[in-house]
Symmetry: C2
Amino acid sequence: MTLELSVDRGSPVPLYFQLSQQLEAAIEHGTLTPGSLLGNEIELAARLGLSRPTVRQAIQSLVDKGLLVRRRGVGTQVVHSQVKRPLELSSLYDDLEAAGQRPATKVLVNTVVSATAEIAAALGVAEGSDVHQVERLRLAHGEPMAYLCNYLPPALLDLDTAQLEATGLYRMMRAAGITLHSARQSIGARAATSEEAERLAEEAGAPLLTMQRVTFDDTGRAVEYGTHTYRPTRYSFEFQLLVRP
Amino acid sequence: MTLELSVDRGSPVPLYFQLSQQLEAAIEHGTLTPGSLLGNEIELAARLGLSRPTVRQAIQSLVDKGLLVRRRGVGTQVVHSQVKRPLELSSLYDDLEAAGQRPATKVLVNTVVSATAEIAAALGVAEGSDVHQVERLRLAHGEPMAYLCNYLPPALLDLDTAQLEATGLYRMMRAAGITLHSARQSIGARAATSEEAERLAEEAGAPLLTMQRVTFDDTGRAVEYGTHTYRPTRYSFEFQLLVRP
DNA sequence: TCAATGCGTATGTCCGGACAATCTGACTAC
DNA sequence: GTAGTCAGATTGTCCGGACATACGCATTGA
């Protein structure tokens, strides 16, 4: 079979990116079957009228994504297993939306509080200084699913309650021009207190899935600290991860 | 301050790798302070007697690791935040060892069983075919910490009980020439059954942290399926993750 | 005073070529 | 028949250069 590949030099989209997208689409679509060889880089470059470094850059990006595997002396082949996505820094809202559910959000608290020692340490601000606090309840199919408590540095974002209910916090941050860079997460479990149980329509002592996260932008500022509790019967963390070579 | 950088052209270690390692060490050591500019690539290349693509390759690898941030028109600077490691496919054994603890392992079961539908689906083998089963109890400071149940395809590995107690499963796989590539994970929580509770010295109904994982090698074969339960008072999943640009 | 413009600087993209390292498979020698 | 050897194929590394693009800042203009 011959793979239809072409690049548009008039497009502002980088050539290597055009190529990697077409290859990824072909893998996704099944045109490039798992295990099949991709054909050597030099010939592929010649066929497309590109240079080898450009082709290599395209292939490399897919290798980084885990879709391709290179073998010296053999060639580049499509990975057999079904790689979906290698763990992104995704918000619960996006996760649910991607799963086809229509998540609902109920903002319980949207205010400014004085930072406790824990919050101050996480966000890197002075203890006692003002921080935004947002408490939300995330529902799916009318059932409570997770209780989210977040703290943000002051003057970072305009936290409109209506907007918080219509979209996710991360989406609002990105829209405000904040470049999310990395996050430090901790996932655990514990028994629900009576207060937590009531919020999530569980019973006191029921197991809860917990997640704490501090998110940093590309300048190294902490832009968000969150403590979340999930109902384990309704939610679990699913992700694919790659081995760093 | 002047950063000491040099490369050895006689070494079989790639030049870009030598450079990236030195830069990483300088960041780790604090010689390159967070937020500081790295100096433009062209001059850096000239100073080291390297070409710009080589220098770029070194820098790019650190950008991928989350240690550096590039800004067009500005330069490349060291990320402020404390990036430790961006979530590896690590075994519990390695995690504990890295944390300074000396993990102990007790192999409870090491046998061959007939694959149930669940196991067969995860490993991609025929239902009812033979698979290895390993059940282990992981202890730290004499206290049970996690209960690990793993299934492996037949004839993949020689599962020596003594070796399983002395090291981790992943380390044994790597030593056997298996190239780990990716894994699909699911982390959740549930209440302990009385059987599970007894194994982990908890009470029935106590919250447990659960993890399921299927690991694939670079040919796409499933090489391991594991169902783990952790005591949440003793263990939680901590990791750093990067945002895919 | 404030906004628009222009310029320098640094990274982003792309090219064409060269040699080295490694894997596969076929051939050869014992 | 088996083991060692060699050649072809393919990716890995590296070079030197060219132009495009975006950011920050100083200058200019209203």
